[in-house]
Every structure is written in C-alpha cells, then in structure tokens.
Symmetry: C2
Subunit: 348 residues, 2 copies
DNA sequence: GGGGTCCGTGGAAGCGCTCCCACGAATTTC
DNA sequence: GAAATTCGTGGGAGCGCTTCCACGGACCCC
C-alpha cells in the first residue's frame, strides 16, 4: 500500500538533515558525502566543495549513533570517580586530574565525560553504561579497596586505566605517583632537619595512596634507625577536618613530637589549625610536610612544604595508555609510576 | 562470491552476542527478544523465560547505539559546567548540585554525565557532543554572561535547563534560588542586630548569582533608609582567597564597618581569616553572614550564619523540568525560583 | 456453532551511517 | 597503440536494534 519512499523518508522530519539529503543537494552519492565528512583524501576538490556547501546550507550534523553502530567507536572516554564520600569531589587533587585529563584530550577527537558512583547502585549503572558501548574506554579513580568496577569493566573487555595503583596487585593498566618514595623523601627531609620525633597523619588504610604514603614514612623511619612508634601514627581520611582531628590525637598521644608528615595537603591544613590551637609554632616547634602540592599549600600560613606529583605527566600517561588500549596496540596491563618531588616552603 | 550470511555474520565476533543470537538460542524471533528486553507485557511467560535464560547464558548486553539509532533516545543527560576557572570545580555548591542531580536520576533510566568546558574550544566540543545526539538533554551551569552554550544548545533544539537564572532575560527554562531575597534577608538580619555599617563582599559581577545577591544587599540597605556607600562594597570571585582579599580591602575602605554580608560561604571563610588577621572579633566587632550553607559553614570558627538554598528541591526541579522537556510535554521555558532560608549560627 | 475479538508471535522494513567492491575515465607504461 | 595502473565515484550490503503489520490460534458472545 504505502509506496517505497526510501529516498525521502527522513525528509519529513525537519531540522535533522541526513547524509542522503546532503548528497542529493550536492549532487553526489552518500558515499562521497561520507568521505568528505570523514576527511578522506580521495575526493575531488569540486565534489568536496559542493558537499561542504550543502552541509553548511542544511546545517547538517552527523548522527553519532549511526556512525558508532558501524565503526564501533564512540570517540568518548569516561573518567569515573568511584567514591562514596561526596566531599572527595572537592579535593583539589581530583579537580587537577579532571583538568589534566580533559586538557590532554582537548586536541584529540575524544570527548571526556565524568561519571560518579557513590554506591553499588550507581556503580552498576556506570558498568552498564560502559558495557553497552557508550564509551571507548574509561579512566577509573577507584580509590577504595572493595570497589567492584575494575573487575566488572576489565571483565567486560572495556579498555581501562586506573588512576592509582590497584589495592590488590591485580593485573590492570594504571598510572600512579611514587607515593612510597615521595613519603620517604618527605620524612627524610624532616629527619635531616634534626627532628627527633617525626609523626605521621596517614590517609585511609583502604586507599592505596594512604597505605603507600604510610609505608614510605615507615621505611624512612626505620632507615633512620628509629622504632616505628604507634603513638606517632594517626589515621585521617584525606579531608581537612580529618587532618585536624588526627593531629589533635597525635598531640595527645605523643606530646613530644617535633615533626609530622601529613599524607595530603588538605589534611595538613587541618593539622596546621590543630597545631595552632594547641599553641605549637610551625615550623619552630613542629615541622610539617604535606603531600600533593595543592593550591592551598602555597596560600596557607605558613606555606606548606609538600610533595608534588607530576600531574601533567600523570594525566598525559593516563590518556596515552588508554588510547593505546583503544587502538588495540597496548600490552595488556602497562603501568607507569611517576616520580614525585619535594617542594620546600615555610612549614619544614 | 561471498554467500549471503546475514544470519550469522555477527556470530563471528565472540564476546558480543546480538539479539539474533539470543533469539536463535531461545528459539524465538528477534522481535520477541526485543520485547523481553524492553519489558513489553505482550510476551508469554514461557517465551520470556526462555529468552531470559538465553540472555543470561550468552551474557547478552544490548547495544545502545543500535537502539538509539531507532528510538532517537540515549537515556543520557549531561550536566555541563561551563566555567573557565578550574577552582570553581571544587566549590562545594557545585559538588552539591552534582550530587543532587545524580541522586534525583539514580532511580530513573537516565544516566548522568558531567562535562566541563573551560574555554571556547571545549564549549564547541560539548556543543557538538550534544548536537550529535549523545544526550537527550542538558542541565547547564553556565555561570558567566558571555557563555555561548545556552544559545547554541537551545538553538539546536537540545532540551535544556539552566541551573541559575540566565544573565540576560532570555527565554529558556531555568531553576534558581531566590538569591535577591536571600541576600536581602541576610542583610536585614544584620541590620536587625543593630549593626550600623553593613558591608558586602559580592560575587563576580558577570555571574547572575553574584549580581542578584548584591542587589539583595542594596535593596535591604536602601529599605533600612541608608545610603548605598561604595566603600562598603568589595567584589570577590566566590573563592576563599578572593573573599579574604576582598575583606581586607573592605577593612581598608571602611574601617568602621561592623557587619558584612558575604555572597558565598567559601568567601566568608576567607573573610573570617582576614578579619582575624586584622584583629577584629566575630561576631563582637564584625558580624558575618555567608551564603550557601556549605559544609564548611558548620565547621568553621565561629560557625557561620548563612543563607541556605533548598538544594534537594532545586535539583529535583532541575531534573523534573528537563524530563518534561525530553518527553515533549513541557512549556518552552518553564522556570522555578526556590525560596532560601536564613540559618543563624555564631557569626551573626 | 459461526463470526468477532484478543493476544502472542514472526517477518520485514527501516534508523543513518560506513566501507567494500566494481566501474568507467584518465593516465601511465612498454 | 594496447594493456596496465590509478583515481574518483556510486551502488549496495550491513551494523544491531525497534516496531509496524499481518497472521494464526484461543477465546468469547449471542
């Protein structure tokens, strides 16, 4: 009954021109329009020009779904933050990573989308999203040990790079800073300053960065020929408030401490406050070293001596590793550990 | 030459089963499998069961690109943060919005992606992303006046809701807090406390929230029968450092001030610091009111009296308006202005 | 008990795009 | 000058899915 109107079916829907319509207007075939859109060199200048004019006139925008269906690429990568604590979202380190990755991608055809998962349900949703082919790959900031996403994603064959070493030595691509080394250098700096009782405020013990920085402190302490005194250790949660509370505990447990390595800058700022509240001067009475070299390390009082991570390098590697996996030319689980650097300011 | 192998073409690619393969295994047609996947009621229990078993066995995941191609829906919405200053990313208000929108979406079929645009190039990329049909709609936190995205997006017919009133009274859907009213109440509170010289630290004048809160202060000041003294005004940028600097200027311009309305909590924290540095006690010498009721307002010293925005309500409305537009049942440019509430704590 | 309704089902036509393949014309090579 | 190459082009199949339509069987009503 209904005649075959293949040619102009979509002409009925105004506002969304298709390849065919461009082809008709330009007087060429669909294939040629496709070539122009995809910048194939095998098109004569005249044809190219005609097509470009038609595209402009029709305000043609290619339909990505249709394209993806055949190319099996979406030109989209996701940066997934899998973390229950909303506040971590405002951690400057996270903001820097987002910024860096996004900057590394701006000159490519890839678009970055951010996904956050606060609980198992959201993790499921994200896993589905990725498995269904919405993205070509994912950079995962999976911070806690019990996270499901690394398994699900790599199991589903989604190209994946972790930002931060996986908690269990599973075989997966990752990029991380040399947290152990950085913490060690920070602690050695404190020891080298002649401090006798060097305490530490650690990060959460279910995050690898927390564990590694703690390990670095332990090693440096042992190397200095000192006992690892539990009274010199307080666990924080990478937040400013957590750092303040931990520092207060430390002051209580070990009133004679004269230096402290704090495993993140926000926590160090909290520690500074606790120290001030307790009437200790920094650095005279207590020397403080932080970690991250966040913006706040420069502006707080006194400015924070801290361990800087090479963020540009790290985000660059992150993107590089991911792209290689997407291209299919990467070894299964390449890893990078980037060197850190001590930045000496007023606090130690 | 090559025989027609329509049936099993995709069988060659292991690991990504298609509808057809599920259909074959379940002994039904593609159409029936599709019905099961889409939870159509018109399927017999036996067929449904067989299909579900096949799906489980094959670990079948529908290909969203293929589905989108025909349904013209992606079940994805974007939250776009269009803002050059990376630091805003760590503004707790932004984090709260993300959290709220994402929470409002978790029980729906919609997935939220976050997109950030720091410059015109990234804005272009995002515009393309949206126009090409990657998302069903966008929530835009377009904070500055010269942003292109609202125009491009609404021009392209992408369902769009702004978070925050547009700078120029353009006709577009938005949800905003009653910034003018909130600022007014805050200022009136200060006046009601008997303060004679009520200053203000404003937000950036190219952001509508900055402008509106300033307007609220002006109105309240005028209503109190006082002149709007320029010496009582300093412009900040919504950051803590900016607030500190602005407060310092204020102290310089108007040493006799005895109260200040600060247009955001992070700035208020900065102001508190400047005040302490200048030896002024809060609230004895200078009463301070902030805006946002951020986490930090509770933990700072003294706790901040501040204007709370109904975040859950706002994010709920944001999602509601967007969904209605996506369904096609919304008036073109519905708007919501949500009431604010003064939270009195120690600082005023 | 015959004609209507309802319901589950499968066939088939696309959605908009890419890309393989074949084709004719222009160019080169011996 | 004929065969071989190159090059731009168009035809057409197919990516995996949804959905319209038609079909046959079970059911209902008078």
């Amino acid at each position: 009954m209904a005649p075959v109107t293949t040619e102009l079916t979509s002409g009925a829907r105004p506002g969304t021109p298709t390849l065919d319509e461009v082809a008709v207007l330009a007087g060429v075939s669909r294939a040629t329009v496709s070539r122009v859109v995809n910048e194939s060199p095998k098109v004569s200048p005249e044809a190219r020009e005609a097509v470009q004019a038609a595209i402009a006139q029709l305000r043609y925008v290619p339909n990505r779904m249709a394209r993806s269906l055949v190319t099996r690429r979406t030109d989209t990568v996701a940066l997934v933050l899998s973390e229950p604590n909303t506040q971590v979202f405002s951690d400057p380190f996270f903001a820097s990573i987002v910024h860096g990755v996004s900057a590394a991608l701006v000159d490519t055809e890839l678009t970055l989308v951010l996904l956050t998962a606060r609980d198992a349900r959201e993790q499921q949703k994200i896993a589905r999203f990725a498995r269904q082919g919405h993205v070509d790959g994912v950079v995962l900031m999976s911070l806690h040990s019990e996270d499901l996403l690394p398994d699900v994603l790599s199991g589903a064959g989604v190209p994946l790079v972790l930002c931060g070493r996986p908690y269990d030595g599973r075989s997966v691509a990752y990029v991380d800073a040399d947290n152990v080394g950085g913490a060690r250098v920070a602690t050695e700096h404190l020891v080298g300053l002649g401090r006798r009782r060097v305490a530490t405020v650690t990060g959460p013990t279910d995050m690898i960065a927390g564990v590694d920085r703690y390990t670095g402190w332990q090693r440096a302490t042992a190397d200095a020929g000192r006992a690892v005194d539990p009274a010199l250790v307080a666990h924080g949660d990478f937040t400013e408030a957590g750092g303040e509370a931990a520092m207060a505990r430390l002051l209580d447990q070990a009133p004679d401490l004269d230096a402290v390595f704090v495993a993140s800058d926000p926590m160090a700022v909290g520690a500074l406050r606790a120290l001030r509240a307790a009437g200790r001067r920094v650095p005279e009475d207590v020397a403080v070293v932080g970690f991250d070299d966040a913006e706040v390390a420069r502006t707080c009082d006194p400015p924070l001596t801290t361990v800087a991570q090479p963020l540009d390098l790290m985000t660059g590697e992150l993107v590089e590793l991911l792209r290689r996996q997407i291209e299919g030319v990467a070894a299964p689980a390449e890893t990078r550990t980037c060197p850190t650097r001590l930045v000496v300011r007023g606090s130690a």
